[in-house]
C-alpha cells in the first residue's frame, strides 16, 4: 500500500514539469492575448505602447518638463510688456503649480517623484516601468489635460498678438512645453470590447474568415478524397513500397515555406512551367492568371496545399486500412457482396475513427494556415487569398497594433476551439484509446 502511494506521487512529479511548461507557453499567452485585446495598445505610439487600466503619468518626462516649465513661466511673467498678458501668465503659472501640488499629494507620489528627479539629475535613464509610470486619479488627469490644452492655446494667442518680438518667441516656446507636459499624462487606453465591435463589423475580417473557410473546406475535402483513393490503391503488397513511401514523405517533410517558394516558381506568369502547361492545355486563358487574379490565387494556394498534404493523409488512412482484418472481406466475398458494397459496408465504417482523427488534425492545420499563403501570394492579389492568421499577423506586426491584432488572434482561437469541440464530440473517447492504459 505504501509502495502504491509513492508510485502515485512519483507519477504526479513526473507529469508536473511538462504540464506546467505546456500551460505556461500556451494558456498564459492566450490569456494575455485576450487581455491585450481589451486595450487600444499600439507598439508604435508612445502614449499607447503600454496597457494602462487607469490614467498614468510618465514621471520621467513630467519631472524633466516641470523643472524648465516652472522656471520659464515665472520668467515669462516678468517679460510681459502688457499687464493683461502678465496677469494671464501669472494665472497659468499659479494653476500649474496648484496641479503640481495636487499631484504630489497623491499616495506615495512625493517619494516616487523625488526618486525620479534624483535619477534625472544624475542623467540616468529610467528602465524600471514601475518607477517611470505613476498611476494617477482619473479626474485629476482629465482636469490637468484640459487645463494644459487651454493654457497652451491662450499663450499661443498672446504670442501671436503681442508686438514685443522677444516675448512672442518665449510665449510660443512655453506653449510648446505645455503641450509636451500634456503628452506625459497618459489617459487609460482600456477600451473594453470596442475592438471586438470594430472587427466583428469589419469587411476585411469577414473576407479573410471566408477565405480561410473556403481554403479549409476545399483543401481538406480534396485531400481526404484523393488520400482515401490512394490509400485504397496502395493497400497491397507490391515491389517498390519503399520508393513510394519515401516519395510520399518528402513533400510532407520539407518546410511549407520552401514548398511555397517552389510553387511560386511553378506558377509564375513568365517562367512557371505549371502556368505554362495550364495555358497550353487551355485550362487558363493566360499564364499570368494563376497569381494575378483572386480566383487563380485561391486555386494556386489550394492546389499547392493538396500537393503537400494529400500524401500525408493517404499515409494516415493507409495505416487505418491495415488494421481491418482481411477475413472480413473474405467473408463478404463468400456472401456475394460486390466491391462497392464491401467499401461502403466494411471499409468505410471501420475506417471511420481514422478518418475523423485525420480530419480533425487536418482541419485545424488548414484553418490556421499562414506560411503557405504568406510566402506564395502574401495574401494577395487584393487580399483575395488573405487568411485570418495573415490578417492578424499584419495587424500585429506590420501595423504594430497589438490591441486590434489580439482581437483577431482571439477570434482565430475561438474558431479553432469550436472546430475541435465539434470534432471531439463526434470522435468521442476514441481519441484517447490506447493511451491512458489500465
Amino acid at each position: 500500500m505504501k509502495f502504491q502511494l509513492n508510485e502515485k506521487q512519483l507519477g504526479y512529479a513526473m507529469v508536473a514539469p511538462a504540464l506546467i511548461l505546456v500551460i505556461l507557453v500556451t494558456l498564459w499567452p492566450v490569456a494575455q492575448s485576450f487581455y491585450n485585446s481589451l486595450f487600444d495598445y499600439r507598439l508604435n505610439d508612445p502614449s499607447r505602447s503600454e496597457r494602462f487600466l487607469s490614467s498614468n503619468m510618465d514621471l520621467e518626462r513630467y519631472a524633466n518638463d516641470y523643472f524648465y516649465l516652472s522656471r520659464d513661466l515665472e520668467a515669462l511673467e516678468g517679460q510681459a510688456p502688457d499687464p493683461d498678458d502678465a496677469a494671464a501668465v501669472a494665472e497659468i503659472s499659479q494653476e500649474f503649480e496648484a496641479y503640481h501640488a495636487e499631484l504630489l499629494e497623491m499616495d506615495g507620489l512625493a517619494e516616487q517623484y523625488e526618486e525620479v528627479e534624483g535619477m534625472i539629475a544624475s542623467f540616468t535613464a529610467i528602465a524600471d516601468r514601475d518607477l517611470k509610470y505613476a498611476s494617477v486619479e482619473n479626474d485629476w488627469a482629465e482636469g490637468f489635460k484640459a487645463f494644459l490644452d487651454d493654457a497652451s492655446e491662450q499663450l499661443t494667442t498672446i504670442s501671436q498678438n503681442t508686438e514685443n518680438e522677444e516675448f512672442s518667441v518665449t510665449a510660443g516656446n512655453v506653449a510648446g512645453s505645455l503641450d509636451s507636459v500634456n503628452t506625459a499624462v497618459i489617459e487609460s487606453n482600456f477600451i473594453g470590447f470596442d475592438n471586438y465591435q470594430r472587427y466583428l463589423t469589419d469587411g476585411r475580417m469577414w473576407q479573410s474568415m471566408g477565405n480561410t473557410m473556403l481554403f479549409t473546406i476545399v483543401s481538406v475535402f480534396a485531400e481526404l478524397v484523393l488520400g482515401l483513393m490512394i490509400a485504397l490503391l496502395i493497400n497491397r503488397a507490391f515491389v517498390g513500397r519503399g520508393i513510394v513511401r519515401a516519395s510520399v514523405l518528402i513533400p510532407w517533410a520539407i518546410p511549407t515555406a520552401v514548398a511555397a517558394m517552389m510553387w511560386g516558381f511553378l506558377y509564375d506568369g513568365q517562367t512557371g512551367i505549371v502556368a505554362h502547361y495550364f495555358e497550353q492545355f487551355g485550362l487558363i486563358d493566360d499564364a499570368s492568371v494563376l497569381l494575378s487574379t483572386g480566383a487563380g490565387g485561391m486555386f494556386s494556394v489550394i492546389f499547392a496545399d493538396v500537393w503537400k498534404t494529400t500524401p500525408y493523409m493517404a499515409l494516415l488512412l493507409l495505416a487505418g486500412l491495415q488494421t481491418i482484418p482481411g477475413s472480413l472481406y473474405e467473408a463478404a466475398e463468400v456472401d456475394g457482396a460486390g466491391k462497392m458494397q464491401q467499401f461502403w459496408k466494411i471499409t468505410l465504417p471501420l475506417l471511420k475513427s481514422s478518418i475523423l482523427v485525420a480530419l480533425l488534425f487536418r482541419t485545424l492545420d488548414a484553418f490556421r494556415v499562414f506560411d503557405l499563403i504568406f510566402v506564395l501570394t502574401g495574401g494577395g492579389p487584393a487580399n483575395a487569398t488573405e487568411s485570418i492568421s495573415i490578417y492578424a499577423y499584419i495587424t500585429l506586426f506590420s501595423q504594430s497594433n497589438f490591441g486590434a491584432g489580439s482581437v483577431l488572434s482571439v477570434i482565430v482561437f475561438i474558431s479553432v476551439a469550436i472546430i475541435s469541440t465539434l470534432f471531439i464530440k463526434f470522435i468521442g473517447s476514441d481519441l484517447f484509446a490506447g493511451k491512458t492504459g489500465r
Binding site: 491585450n36 517533410a253 490556421r368 499562414f370 492504459g437
Partner: protein, 273 residues
C-alpha cells in the same frame, strides 16, 4: 479486395510518384541551368549544365548560416521536448495517477493552439528578456509546438511495451525510477528516437515564430531565409531553385534513412490498435 499488383497498378504508381515528385524534378533541372536560360524557356534539359546558380545562392545570402541556425534550434528543441515528454508520457501510461484524461486533454488542446493566438505575448516576453535574435528566443516558443506533440506520440509508444517485464522488475525489487531507466527506456528507445525525428522536422519547418522573433538576417532559419531570397523588384529563380535543392537534400536523406520510423510515428497517434 484485389491484393495482386498488375501492370496497370505499376503504371498508376509511376504516374503518381512522378506527379508528387514533379516540382522537385523541375526545380532541380532549373537549378543546373545557366541563369540566363531560366527565363522564357520551358526546355526540360539544358545542353550546358552549370553550377552558377548554386554559387549565387550561397554567396548572395548566408544559406549555410541559415541551415546551421535551423540545425541548432531544432536540435535544442528536440532534446528539451524529449527530456520532459518521455518522463511525462511514462507517468501517464504506466503510473496509477488520476486525471489522466484531463491531462491528455490539456496536452491535446495545446497541440491544437493556433500559433497566431499566442505569438504577441510570446513576442513581448522574448523581447523583454532580451532573447530576440538568439537561439533560445526560438527554442522557448517551439516548446508550444514540440512538447504536446512529443507527449502525444510517446504515450502511444510506451503503451505498446509489454507489461510483464515491468512487473518482474518490480518483483525483483527495482524502484519505479530504476524500472524506467533499465527496462522501459531501452525498450522505448526506438519510439523515443522516432518521436525525436518528428519533433526535429516540426521545429525545422516552423515559420511564424522564426519570422517574427529572429528578424536579423544572421539569425534566420531556413524557411524564413528562403522566403527572403525574393526582393521587391526581382525574383532570382535560379538562386531560389539552387537554395531549395540544397536545403531539401538533408531532409531527403533523413526521410530515406528513417522512412519506416517516420511512418510509424505519424500514424501512431491517429490509429486505434
Amino acid at each position: 479486395m484485389n491484393k495482386r499488383a498488375g501492370i496497370g497498378f505499376y503504371i498508376f504508381l509511376v504516374v503518381f510518384v512522378f506527379f508528387v515528385m514533379f516540382p522537385f524534378i523541375w526545380v532541380f533541372l532549373t537549378s543546373i541551368k545557366p541563369p540566363g536560360e531560366i527565363f522564357n524557356n520551358f526546355n526540360w534539359f539544358t545542353a550546358d549544365p552549370s553550377l552558377a546558380s548554386y554559387e549565387n545562392a550561397i554567396t548572395n545570402r548566408p544559406l549555410f548560416r541559415y541551415m546551421w541556425n535551423s540545425f541548432v534550434v531544432s536540435t535544442l528543441t528536440t532534446l528539451i521536448a524529449i527530456g520532459f515528454a518521455s518522463v511525462a508520457a511514462y507517468a501517464l501510461t504506466r503510473l496509477p495517477i488520476r486525471f489522466k484524461g484531463v491531462i491528455l486533454g490539456i496536452i491535446l488542446a495545446a497541440s491544437m493552439f493556433p500559433q497566431i493566438a499566442i505569438i504577441s505575448p510570446i513576442y513581448n516576453f522574448v523581447t523583454a528578456v532580451g532573447l530576440r535574435n538568439s537561439y533560445m528566443g526560438l527554442v522557448i516558443p517551439y516548446i508550444t509546438v514540440s512538447l504536446p506533440l512529443a507527449i502525444w506520440i510517446l504515450a502511444t509508444f510506451f503503451q505498446k511495451i509489454p507489461w510483464e517485464l515491468e512487473e518482474s522488475a518490480k518483483l525483483d525489487g527495482a524502484s519505479p525510477f530504476q524500472t524506467f531507466r533499465k527496462i522501459i527506456f531501452p525498450l522505448a528507445a526506438p519510439g523515443v528516437f522516432t518521436t525525436g525525428i518528428l519533433v526535429f522536422i516540426a521545429a525545422w519547418n516552423e515559420y511564424l515564430f522564426a519570422l517574427t522573433i529572429n528578424t536579423s538576417d544572421e539569425w534566420r532559419t531556413v524557411p524564413v531565409g528562403i522566403s527572403f531570397y525574393q526582393s521587391q523588384f526581382t525574383i532570382p529563380w535560379g538562386d531560389i531553385s539552387a537554395a531549395t535543392v540544397l536545403v531539401t537534400i538533408p531532409i531527403v536523406i533523413l526521410v530515406l534513412i528513417f522512412q519506416r520510423r517516420i511512418v510509424a510515428g505519424l500514424t501512431s497517434g491517429s490509429v486505434k490498435e
